[in-house]
Amino acid sequence: MNGTTLSRPRPMANAWGTLHSFFGELRREPLGFIGLMLIVALILVAILAPWIAPYSPSRQSLSEVLQPPSVAHWMGTDEFGRDILSRLIWGAQITMRTVLSVTAIVGPIGLLIGVTAGYFGGRVDAVLMRITDIVLSFPSLILALAFAAALGAGLGTAIIAISLTAWPPIARLARAEALIVRNTDYVAAARLYGASNLRLLTLYIAPMCIPSVVVRLTLNMATITLTAASLGFLGLGAQPPMPEWGAMISAGRRFMLDQWWVAVMPGFAILFTSLAFNVVGDALRDVLDPRHTKN
């Protein structure tokens, strides 16, 4: 029994080992690898937008209105003659900024609330989890809409609005993990040598909850992409002339039948981005979560 458990190191034992095994496992998972490549490409595009976009995203050319895809405009032009490919490239920047900001806000908040609730239990747990349930019971898009409407439309408001509704699943997950970890022998041993609650939470319990939270956050990125695009579509996200993908679809709606490329190109961008996040999240779960077995 000892031999088998020993030869296979536990996942997440250290950052380098994890990274190494992560890429090792990803190579065996072509779909996850493609997804990761797609996301890396997207981030590069977002960073390099000023240099790789063939045109300025706001350069209007009324002589080139609603041109179909051609050599000059690979994805055609919109109703103001703006190059759609350039707008998509600049839009990647907006999408990435939204996704990363929301994740950076939601991850720590969800982890903190969940771990605190799970570790202390009792009344602290009851209060924190009821708050979580209340937020969870709101349809997230509606709450985001109300919030964006109240604070005024804009990218910043969209980010705050999405963050407000995105933390409860993370908190629940972290709580479930903390409930398991707080009963382990190594936490009992730490109590015996007088480790303080703060120390137990930050140095013993939280690190054990991080892998599953990371997986969940990655899967959440797909939802965030969609919610951000939805808000943009409804006019409550990034404001024109910012090349936000959802807003571009909204604008292209009117020409859907005759000039399909205006709405379809940003649609594909959203589709592939959220698909990539989903696929990478799934692959991450296979690598980081030992309880989740591949079928």
């Binding site: 536990r10 034992a13 022998d185 190594y186 041993a189 015996l192 040598y193 007088g194 690190p207 054990m208």
Partner: protein, 251 residues
């Protein structure tokens, strides 16, 4: 003067109709430097008794004193330092993401004791491990090596009392003897007082001066190692336990 004094210890969960009376009126007195064993089948309350004694379990009534100091359910650091515990499963008792150095320095740091690399190296050496193990993670160690680290972790705060909850039952037979010898040596060296819980009679007979047989939360018999060797006991249940373990060894 006795090191550990337990009087009328009771542990109950869920008062009322669904009451679960786990430990029933246990009295125990352990002299300084003595090793006392508690045997019994799974669920008889031996682990709960140990956890109450060490301060992990707060639902007990009665009186507990270690080293002459009366202890309540909630302990101060100095009180916690009176007794440390070695757990059954060495795969679960070390934090999987802390290196051995961290596992050994944390107790000292929490207790406000000075700790440096030399101290860690000495602690590892004391349990028969090379100082280079400090940079390893628990998953890079075997079960026996991990249990040695767990013992070093318990000893690093220099407790007068060590509580052992089935310290060898998760280990290979060949490693069991090494760990038991290590424990005996440390006891002789430091004058430690042991309370050893086990379901393995041969382990208890090898280690302990006195052995208590526990059934349904209470002590039913007190045996000496010689009694176990001869298979003799006053209580019917204790006789049954001895006979069962004798059969096991034959098989």
């Amino acid at each position: 003067m006795s090191m550990i004094e337990l009087q009328d210890i009771n542990v109950r969960y869920h008062s009322g109709k669904s009451e679960n009376h786990v430990v029933r009126g246990v009295n125990l007195s352990v002299a300084r430097g003595e090793c006392v064993g508690i045997v019994g089948e799974s669920g008889c309350g031996k682990s709960t008794l140990l956890r109450s004694l060490v301060g992990l379990e707060g639902h007990w009534t009665g009186s507990i004193s270690i080293n002459g100091e009366a202890l309540g359910p909630i302990r101060t650091k100095d009180q916690l330092r009176c007794a440390q515990m070695v757990f059954q499963d060495p795969f679960a008792s070390l934090h999987p993401r802390h290196r051995i150095r961290r596992a050994l320095s944390e107790p000292a740091r929490c207790m406000g004791l000075p700790v440096d690399d030399a101290r860690i190296a000495a602690a590892l050496e004391e349990v028969g491990l090379p100082a280079s193990f400090a940079d390893r993670f628990p998953h890079q160690l075997s079960g026996g090596q991990r249990q040695r680290v767990a013992i070093a972790r318990a000893l690093i705060v220099e407790p007068p009392v060590l509580l052992l909850d089935e310290p060898t039952s998760a280990l290979d037979v060949s490693v069991q003897a090494e760990i038991l010898n290590l424990l005996s040596d440390r006891r002789d060296e430091r004058g430690l007082t042991f309370v050893l819980v086990s379901h393995d009679l041969s382990v208890v007979a090898h280690m302990c001066d006195r052995i208590f047989v526990m059934q349904n939360g209470g002590f039913v018999d007190e045996l000496s190692p010689a009694d176990i060797g001869a298979g003799e006991a006053r209580d019917a249940y204790a006789r049954q336990l001895l006979a069962a373990s004798f059969l096991e060894e034959l098989a």
